[in-house]
Symmetry: C2
Subunit: 200 residues, 2 copies
């Protein structure tokens, strides 16, 4: 099974800029990718292709249009995904498995026969992909997982990584002094030495 | 098995006030509770006690200190929880099952022998509860679920309810003109007739 990971190291993760410098964001992105690839490897999936995320839909649709073997498209900013998540998704019997991210995203997409599908990651891609699968008469499973839902894009998302992470990316946050800020309501994050609660 | 649902209808959900009026927030809270109770019922759990959430820790610790039968403590603002979620949690063999919410919360807590535990819902309660279970030598399972992680507290959370909800509370949002606002990045919500993207 081929694993496709759309990835941009340079200049990505701009929504983390209220808290992290450009080089920190790039380092974090790299560590998150390493965490994802390490989990895939532990799940026995080694055939991993990192592709550019510039023109994401075009890049992916070109790849899948020529593929008839099962394929997993997984985002690189899912440092919490577990081996169980990966095994559950890839052992599904359905034609398509969609694992939603927060805010309508598609964090993991499993395609039994990629050539029968086309991706649309713009907007509420979770809904797009459900509709596309329906239009194409494909049997679909929604794989719901908190860990798989946590794409790390915004400052508050870092709290999830600190609380639940066990890989390199959470260690990295710790190493640069990012820690939890316990407040009423949801927990946020702060940087060591900073008195202020940081909100995006 | 007793099910405990800490609930406040009056004046709750204040973080939704950028988008919803007081009466709308109270109605939404009520519909979400109904969705949760309906799912519990479909999972065969009918012994449901709605308790006040004023002084939450004291209320719950008083209840559990006198209970030795398995107990499920579940929050009322989890309209996405599935029958499978409820069955998975309550059929666990561990002493304690903790299902995390976003931002370090504890959305579902299953206690095989409640009298051996005490709750602490302040701050990062997920971490508190892990630590308490460890201190008490209890075998613990983290039950990770996207649906169970989605407590509806903030305006952006409504997007999850619109996208994934199938119960009364998502119908209610639709009935008062709340719909998705598709933008770059995560999807947000808007109110019918409003041109502006509403952010908390």
């Amino acid at each position: 099974m081929k694993i496709i990971v759309p990835y941009k190291k340079k200049g990505g993760k701009s929504r983390l800029s209220p808290l992290l410098s450009l080089s920190e964001r790039e380092e974090l992105a790299e560590y998150m990718l390493e965490d994802v690839v390490a989990t895939l490897s532990k799940a026995g999936l080694e055939d991993v292709y990192i592709v550019s995320d510039e023109g994401l839909n075009a890049v992916l649709n070109k790849i899948i249009s020529n593929s008839t073997d099962p394929m997993l498209i997984i985002m690189p900013d899912l440092p919490l995904i577990s081996i169980e998540n990966v095994l559950d998704v890839t052992s599904s019997n359905e034609d398509v498995v969609i694992s939603p991210g927060r805010g309508g995203g598609t964090n993991i997409l499993f395609l039994r026969d990629p050539s029968t599908f086309r991706v649309d990651y713009h907007g509420a891609s979770f809904l797009n992909h459900l509709q596309i699968a329906k239009d194409m008469g494909l049997l679909t499973r929604v794989y719901e997982s908190f860990y798989a839902s946590c794409d790390i894009d915004e400052v508050d998302d870092l709290a999830e990584l600190i609380i639940h992470g066990r890989g390199k990316s959470s260690q990295y946050l710790n190493s640069i002094g990012i820690s939890l800020q316990i407040t009423s309501g949801r927990v946020h994050v702060k940087r060591e030495g900073s008195k202020d609660l940081i909100r995006p």
